[in-house]
Symmetry: C2
Subunit: 252 residues, 2 copies
Amino acid sequence: MGTTQLESVPEPKYWHLKTVLNDALDSEFEVGEILPNERDLAARFGVARATLRQALEQLELEGRLQRRRGVGTTVAPPRMGVAVGPSANSWPGARDAWETVGCVEAVAPAAIAALLGTGPDEAVHTIRRARVMRGQPVAAELLYVPPASVPGLPADLSPAAHAPAVLRELHALELEGEDRAVELGSARADDAKQLDRLPGAPVLVVTSRYYTGGRVAAASVSTYRADTCRLTFGDAGAFEVTHHQQDTRQAS
Amino acid sequence: MGTTQLESVPEPKYWHLKTVLNDALDSEFEVGEILPNERDLAARFGVARATLRQALEQLELEGRLQRRRGVGTTVAPPRMGVAVGPSANSWPGARDAWETVGCVEAVAPAAIAALLGTGPDEAVHTIRRARVMRGQPVAAELLYVPPASVPGLPADLSPAAHAPAVLRELHALELEGEDRAVELGSARADDAKQLDRLPGAPVLVVTSRYYTGGRVAAASVSTYRADTCRLTFGDAGAFEVTHHQQDTRQAS
DNA sequence: GAGTGGTCTAGACCACTGA
DNA sequence: CAGTGGTCTAGACCACTCA
């Protein structure tokens, strides 16, 4: 008789552990409930703590768990649907969900200068903004506006008046189009602090360009928490899904 | 005299290591070049292999490195810009970048049924597709079409004729709108195989809904490799950036 | 100060690739 | 077959939160 080889490629312990924990989260825990600590969990499953942590890390990446140092591991609520790029084109700062937290005029990094089509050593208005949903920070943004886009800007602005004035001048232009790109990144120290996460936390980086007169009038780099956010696009309204993304996928 | 406390919060070794490696990749390595193996690198930096791996994992997450078991670690090319959701609405399968690799009629998972508005035990056409760019797989997709959306579909189709017939019937409808959501996930075993990655690899999951007559006529879940792809949206063409995303961000 | 998650070590063995 | 990255262990100490 032959050997019963159910798994020609035996799955790693942490992968199996992740499946078991994922099912347990669905059936035995409520949103916000706190899990046993990592040392107890590892002992319960008979694995080393590092192996358990590998499973927890994946579940946190998928938005199922939330871990906070000094506190514990809790069951995360479903991801929030965050609207990005509404159907009606509009300038940043015009009736949007962001709040300005700072503004400086400084030389942008080379990649931003390439995006804007400005010279490598040219100073641009740099507005830092924050986005909050349901009382928690979901995104940090740097919005870049070349001086050439806002020629009517008054001189000698106070720091408090700087950002509003730049946005006001920007809104006077006709917005002809915008495009966006989304990619995975890890939070820099400054963004991480603003997002209430540790540096290196996974984030979705949205790079936007705003066009007027065939030129790029402004560009922004928005950093969204990947664990708590689902970015929504399009003209048919935000998704109403209440399940997690992994539930929407199955083997074919 | 006071102590000189340069770092009130000393950064972790792996974080510093990541910065050093990132800089070295820019200045001392070419795209495609192979790095020293992990044991040598760890010894060179005077850290344990696990610590080095933590830095490499982040760099891979950011698309800077590519690691292949049995081969080695290579310097990754810049991420590819992949167009998602073109300006002109169009049905899936109509002049798009996807290739059908399979088709079955099966009961969709509950979350998909909710997306489609079908009953929980209703069978839907499920088309598996693949997307390839520059000779390498970038995305795997499951496209769901309820039978109610394609009433004219002939009966008793051969497996080979199934998917083309469903798409043909779908294209006869008027597409009134579409919306999309993007979130972070980890590759399931089947998708991972199709994407030439290990299970659990980070992916960008794009959920799309296609509307006709105020109803959802079809829905799809597309799984993009997060390490190699930058998803582009909007009407102004794909981005032309040649730098990596982390270069586009700086502290404010 | 007790308890949590975050970092780090120094090993070991396994699965896979390619010569 | 030798060499690579992937998994796993059993510890240790640190940074942080909160009572």
